[in-house]
């Protein structure tokens, strides 16, 4: 924004000189303070007396858990990033798209759990569950775009954001009205319980499945965007909607495709999330949704590799952060503050580096 190309006039430079320092200094002090708090906390945690300290295997569990959950977050984050890249809008209701996929799969998995199909054909049933969740999430995403967002395509930027918040509430409470308010247990095939030993590491089977699926999905998406014709038109629309439409690209269709892809990925994430936490309810989309958005911003919103990186980093931060930093300060039940960590990261990224880790560092996002 605000390309100041009037040349290096002396006045402008002086103005800059006068205005910038105090703000920079305050931010710098804040950064140093936060870094100090984190480092001292980590140091205190690691030097706790041996009987209070976490063991090496606990740390390993934290890391694997963080990567697995971060991978799920990354999948949802891709949905945010794709839509933002093309429409420059935050699809606040994306968490609810994810939730509907989980509910749809739940009804099948619970029926199959009773009939024994889930345990007798674990891989086939998982494949069908993935297909169902993807289909339903995709449908919800497309309907959402059609009903709530398309009429506002050219509205000022805050209008779609407010609509998205409204749509998120509507979808949540629709699920509540349709399926009831109580949480329901999500069945997991017996074949996925227990652990596998890979490279001498003992890993939860579900976590292995999660990580492999996410790697495949991200690779597939990258190939799709880089290699296919649709992917190319998506990139064109992201670069400049108007020019793209002049070049004969059907912008509306590209936008619907983008929402559909986001929905498909959210559907995959929904199954992975459900088998990890073994429960579904109508508010399950809220926190993962915000975490995913944070991940997308952390990695640099609009960038696919950024979303993937951001997801894994955030997952690690959520699982390691409270244990590593807060335990040292003897804060009771540090894991209650896990979500505060997410939000703190979000706020700090936006304040210090709004472009994210892999994005360009624009100070002003208009």
């Amino acid at each position: 924004m605000a390309t100041r190309t009037d040349g290096p006039a002396r006045g402008a430079q002086l103005g800059r000189f006068e205005r910038v320092p105090w703000r920079r200094v305050i931010l710098l002090l804040l950064a140093i303070l936060i870094a100090a708090v984190a480092v001292i906390g980590a140091y205190k945690t690691l030097t706790l007396p041996a009987d209070e300290r976490y063991t090496a295997s606990t740390w390993k569990d934290f890391i694997v858990l963080g990567i697995a959950q971060g991978a799920i977050i990354a999948l949802i984050a891709l949905g945010y990033t794709l839509v933002y890249g093309i429409l420059r809008m935050i699809n606040f209701a994306h968490g609810e798209v994810f939730m509907f996929g989980a509910f749809a799969a739940y009804f099948f998995s619970s029926a199959w759990e009773e009939s024994g199909f889930l345990d007798s054909n674990p891989w086939l049933s998982m494949a069908i569950l993935f297909a169902i969740a993807m289909l339903v999430s995709m449908t919800v995403a497309i309907l959402l775009e059609r009903i709530a967002y398309r009429p506002l395509r050219n509205a000022p930027r805050l209008v779609p954001l407010i609509t998205a918040i409204g749509a998120s509430l509507v979808l949540q409470n629709t699920a509540r009205g349709f399926f009831g308010a109580q949480s329901r247990g999500f069945g997991v095939p017996a074949a996925l319980e227990g652990t596998w030993t890979i490279f001498g590491l003992e890993l939860d089977r579900i976590q292995v499945l999660v990580i492999i699926t996410v790697v495949l999905a991200v690779a597939g998406l990258s190939l799709f965007v880089a290699r296919t014709k649709t992917g190319k038109s998506m990139r064109a629309v992201a670069a400049d909607t108007e020019i793209a439409s002049l070049m004969g690209i059907r912008v509306d269709r590209v936008i619907v495709t983008t929402f559909a892809i986001g929905g498909l990925l959210a559907g995959i994430a929904a199954i992975l999330f459900s088998i990890t936490f073994e429960s579904v309810n109508f508010t399950m989309g809220v926190r993962p949704g915000i975490a995913a958005f944070t991940a997308a911003v952390l990695g640099g919103i609009g960038s696919i590799s950024g979303a993937a990186l951001g997801g894994v980093l955030l997952g690690l931060l959520q699982s390691l952060g409270p244990a590593l930093i807060l335990t040292g300060y003897e804060i009771p039940s540090a894991f209650q503050l896990k979500d505060a960590f997410t939000f703190l990261v979000l706020v700090l990224v936006l304040i210090f580096r709004p472009g994210g880790l892999l994005g360009s560092d624009e100070a002003e996002k208009v």
């Binding site: 009429p151 930027r157 918040i165 629709t174 505060a340 936006l350």
Partner: protein, 599 residues
């Protein structure tokens, strides 16, 4: 028929049917089946059966542009199209009901919890599947006819009829409030509202319809000159304005005496949200900074009031003294709370000065959520009670009033706060500060270039907004006497935002109306409680799509929202504003939107 888009009618009819199925699945029919509006037969549930067909028909008979020419349907066409759309809606809906009966209600219920035998009974009017479906389709056709009529009948006919029907539904919904007023005033109410069904009697329904329709006819008859005189009289002549204010204040002062404790309590809740709305209105409406973490100020106001007035922490064993605490009088504490909240506003505002638009929204959302998470965590136990919360907030007794225990007394306290906040907001908007905010909202860079210190005014907006929002929190703390973290969720921010947006960003009467509609109506009808969030969400989406300037728009603000269309905007012309505002609130909404274009 010439110019009747058959494809569009069929499509709309199917959409209407899907909407009806959605209403059934989400459980609204079951919930409102027995809420009588008029007599025993007209229940809100039944109105909802007719509504999808009605709205569909109303939408599909809209004037269309054919070959560059605007064509409005004639009455006969309108009725025919409406009936057809209604029939298709009824057919789709009926097919779904028949399917449910054939497939087995119990089996569907395993997924959709609202599908029950009573629901099928209700939708088939107790007549079972083949016969009842015909009745259902018949009512949908009636709905379609009414919708077509509401669009294409002569203005002199459809306007009073629409206003009358909307008034009957509104009075039917206000069944907990109007009879009480009658009784308190010493009048008999049984002829108007039945003591058995609680809704209007048939006589009452007719009376309300006649009154509303008659008022509308008189208002239309009186001619433009009279209307303008009345309008300018109220708005511009100082004497009339002062008189209006005095009457308004007098009504507000006697209201709780007329309404009894239950409704005074509801009004108290409404006023808490009016305060939140007013505070948020400064940040979002005046300064254009979308704040999604406004709950932070609400929570801060509530807990700070608790701490300053000597509340105790709840613990598993009893009560404990908070780590920091004072034992001040509420009326001394509230000023300190406001000052501190302004300080918190500065703290929140300072780091986010450089961010704009949705990035600002997300950062504030994050900050608000941090506050919620920390409030509910064990870490916060020694200061504010953590998950257990605190109790024993000051009762705020004054002049023999006891706001905590008597809802009517609370009403007066809340009213005083609201009037104070309204006055501050009103004067701010007209001041140099207000104009600076407007400039900044419309174009930050231009404002900066014109010498408006955007940093200063942004900070000021956060501080002022925070201070007023904390007043809402302080009131909330007094009203309950105890605080738990469950009251300070993200939903509070969303509700406040919905209040401001429904009423119209930057509009003070809008905030009051928004709070009355969003907090007052659901509060008056307990049945709505479960669907409160659904209504908020739906209201946000619908307002943004249909009427982004809100119910009672702030003129300048709405120009920004619809910049390019400003000249053809219905509200910008004289006269349509208020009527639309009433119509858009109610089911069947937007009755007056394109009135003038047609005639």
């Amino acid at each position: 028929m010439d110019g009747v888009p058959t494809g569009s009618v069929i499509r709309s009819g199917v959409i209407g049917g899907l909407v009806a199925i959605y209403i059934a699945l989400v459980g609204l029919y079951t919930k409102f089946a027995d809420l009588a509006l008029v007599g025993e037969q007209v229940t809100l549930g039944r109105v909802l059966i007719v509504a999808p067909a009605l709205i569909t028909a109303y939408a599909v008979t809209r004037p269309r542009v054919v070959a560059g020419e605007r064509r409005a349907a004639t009455l006969r066409q309108g009725l025919a199209i409406g009936a057809l759309a209604g029939l298709i809606t009824g057919a789709v809906f009926g097919a779904a009901v028949a399917f449910a009966e054939w497939f087995g209600v119990e089996r569907i219920r395993e997924v959709f919890v609202a599908v029950t035998e009573p629901l099928i009974d209700f939708l088939t009017f107790g007549m079972g599947v083949p016969a009842g479906l015909l009745v259902l389709a018949g009512w949908c056709v009636v709905g379609g006819l009414v919708g077509g009529f509401a669009r294409t009948a002569p203005l002199a006919l459809r306007r009073p009829a629409s206003v009358g029907i909307v008034a009957v539904i509104l009075f039917g919904l206000l069944q907990r409030i109007v009879p009480i007023v009658f009784v308190e005033l010493g009048y008999e109410a049984d002829w108007l509202y039945s003591p058995i069904t609680k809704g209007l009697t048939w006589l009452g329904g007719l009376f309300v319809f006649a009154l509303a329709a008659g008022a509308d006819i008189l208002w239309r008859r009186s001619g433009d000159g009279t209307r303008d005189r009345i309008r300018t009289g109220v708005y511009e002549r100082p004497a009339a304005r002062i008189g209006f204010l005095v009457v308004l204040l007098a009504v507000l002062a006697v209201l709780p005496l007329l309404l009894g404790t239950v409704i005074s309590e509801v009004l108290g809740q409404v006023m808490i949200y009016v305060l939140l709305g007013l505070g948020l209105n400064i940040v979002v409406g005046y300064a254009g900074l979308l704040d999604l973490g406004y709950v932070a100020f609400f929570a801060f106001g509530a807990y700070a009031t608790g701490l300053l007035t000597g509340a105790m922490l709840n613990t598993t064993t009893g009560a404990a003294e908070p780590a920091i605490s004072a034992d001040l009088n509420f009326y001394a504490a509230v000023w300190i709370v406001m000052l501190l909240a302004a300080g918190v506003g500065l703290l929140i505002g300072a780091p986010v000065l450089r961010l704009r638009g949705d990035y600002l929204a997300i950062v504030t959302l994050g900050l608000g959520e941090i506050v919620s998470v920390i409030t509910a965590s064990k870490w916060a136990q020694p200061l504010i009670g953590g998950p257990q919360g605190m109790r024993g907030v000051s009762k705020a007794e004054i002049f023999g009033l006891n706001p905590q225990d008597h809802p009517q007394d609370f009403y007066y306290l809340a009213l005083a706060f609201v009037l104070f906040a309204l006055f501050v907001s009103w004067r701010l908007a007209a001041s140099r500060v207000g104009r600076a905010w407007t400039a900044m909202r419309e174009d930050e860079q231009v404002a900066d270039a014109m010498g408006v210190s955007t940093i200063k005014y942004k900070l000021l907006a956060f501080a002022m907004g925070g201070a007023i929002g904390s007043l809402g929190g302080a009131l909330f703390a007094v009203s309950l006497g105890s605080l738990t973290p469950a009251s300070f969720e993200f939903l509070v921010s969303i509700t406040a935002l919905a209040v401001v947006i429904l009423g119209g960003l930057g509009s003070l009467p809008g905030v009051v109306v928004g709070a009355l509609v969003l907090i007052g109506l659901p509060g008056l009808l307990r049945e709505f409680e479960e669907y409160r969030q659904l209504i908020y969400g739906g209201a946000l989406v619908a307002i943004m799509i249909l009427r982004p300037q809100g119910l009672i728009p702030n003129v300048r603000r709405s120009r920004e929202l619809k910049e390019e269309e400003v000249t053809q905007d219905a509200w910008a012309r004289d006269g349509t504003g208020e009527i639309e505002a009433v119509a858009a609130v109610l089911p069947g909404g937007a009755l007056g939107v394109e009135e003038e274009d047609l005639e």
